[in-house]
């Protein structure tokens, strides 16, 4: 361990200013070539919800405001911020504008992933006008980053509704049986294939999607219809990490060469799909579930992530304002992500029913 490894993410003195209890995480930098290590922050699923006029749902606003404030206090500073999608609740201009206004306080550069709540009102038109392409790639310190729009669906479903609002409302209901499965789609897969063709197989690849690029539970769209086809395109690379939002809970998994990590929401947590006892689901067995949320604490089981990228692998620090933070790190010995504390020693609040 070097001195960096002992330093907390947040300046304690400055931290006191945002209100007492702060989730402090130690940076664990375990690998030799320090110059290639870096940190980024990952905020997702704020679901900014417009009431009317200048009124928005206070609870969801507060989650995003807190994530932004603490990200600005991180030390060392993150190289950039990824926003994981679902900035808005019903895709309106008012919601996207207000959400971006709150995110405007972030000091590091912020990049965006499209979520279904941002998309299904105007099919991403206003979002794209403000934020640019819905899928793209970039390189940073030797890592190839790819952002996908994984929440597309069948044209037939898109065109069957009488109004855009009706379509948005149906897709916004996580458990609405009239919804439709998410997908990356053929056009974007062709783009991805071409984009990856120029990347060396030794280059670490990090992919961001909104929905999981793995199949967990179709009923709540913890699911991407063409997940296997996207995984196949990533298969030739030695080190692949996929980050996704949408699920509002801690999940992690290893499928072949691909490590998966989810993001918590800043808005509200979701139950694990296994708690719905009428349908089977497939939460990764590897995942140690997050603590059951205490409804009396507004921010409980919501949070955001600070991620160390070392030697092309990731350590994810899940910051839970009302709970002990969680750290899930790639274990080079076992070849999979593991919770550094709870992997083999679960506590009662991690049992869900």
């Amino acid at each position: 361990m070097n001195t960096l490894s002992r330093r907390s993410f947040l300046k304690r003195g400055a931290g006191a200013a945002v209100g007492g209890l702060l989730p402090l995480s130690l940076v664990e930098v375990a690998f030799a070539d320090k110059s290639r290590n870096f940190t980024f922050a990952y905020i997702s699923d704020s679901h900014i919800q417009h009431i009317k006029g200048n009124k928005f749902v206070r609870n969801w606003d507060r989650g995003l405001i807190r994530a932004v404030a603490e990200t600005n206090l991180m030390d060392p500073k993150p190289d950039f911020v990824m926003y994981g999608g679902d900035l808005a609740q019903l895709g309106t201009r008012a919601e996207l504008d207000h959400g971006l206004d709150l995110l405007g306080a972030l000091r590091p550069r912020t990049r965006f992933v499209m979520g279904e709540h941002d998309y299904y009102l105007d099919l991403g038109e206003y979002w794209s006008k403000l934020l640019g392409p819905q899928w793209y790639s970039f390189d940073h310190k030797g890592v190839h980053f790819v952002v996908l729009n994984s929440i597309l669906t069948y044209d037939k479903w898109i065109n069957k509704w009488s109004t855009p609002e009706e379509r948005m409302n149906v897709m916004a209901g996580l458990d609405n049986p009239l919804g439709s499965p998410f997908m990356v789609g053929a056009a974007q897969r062709a783009w991805l294939k071409k984009d990856l063709a120029k990347v060396s197989k030794d280059t670490p690849v990090v992919v961001f999607s909104h929905s999981p690029l793995q199949k967990i539970y179709k009923g709540w769209n913890f699911w991407t219809e063409d997940a296997e086809q996207v995984q196949a395109l990533l298969k030739p690379f030695k080190k692949v990490t996929v980050f996704y939002g949408h699920v509002h809970q801690i999940q992690y998994n290893q499928i072949g060469n691909i490590s998966f990590y989810s993001a918590m929401a800043t808005a509200w947590p979701w139950p694990y799909p296994g708690t719905y006892n009428q349908k089977p689901s497939h939460l990764p067995k590897l995942t140690v579930e997050m603590n059951r949320a205490d409804p009396f604490f507004e921010r409980d089981a919501t949070g955001w992530q600070f991620i160390d990228v070392w030697s092309g692998r990731a350590t994810v620090h899940y910051s839970l304002p009302e709970n002990a933070p969680r750290t899930v790190a790639y274990n080079a010995r076992t070849g999979r992500p593991e919770d550094t504390r709870y992997q083999n020693k679960r506590i009662p609040p991690q049992k869900h029913y």
């Binding site: 919800q49 458990d175 509200w268 139950p271 708690t275 009428q278 409804p295 009396f296 009662p348 029913y353």
Partner: protein, 130 residues
Amino acid sequence: MKRTTILLGALLLAAPATGDEFTEADLERWQAEFQAVVKRGREAFTDPKLGSNGVVCAQCHPNGANTHPETYPKFQKQLGRVAELWEMVNWCIQNPLEGEPLAADDPRMIALQAYINWERRGARLAPGKH
């Protein structure tokens, strides 16, 4: 003895349908009544007008998950006493939904509980469980 039995039998034959007999038609009707209330419960569970800020129950509780009706009544440390499910439903209406609480026998409250219990059918009763 024999005479008494015959008399009783005659009385039974003469009597209208008795209280503890019901038919397929009854069963269908009762089930339809219940399902109609479950449906109204789902409507309330997804109704932006239940509270004041447009937030709906299903936003945090897809398919009524994580409401665990089978664990009520149970001790709620934040209330300092044993509470029933409807009291927690009202807590949610007042806090995340920023709305006005419903009376325990309000038809919407009964419908909400019917829906929640229907989504959780099959779970073993576990009163007091945390």
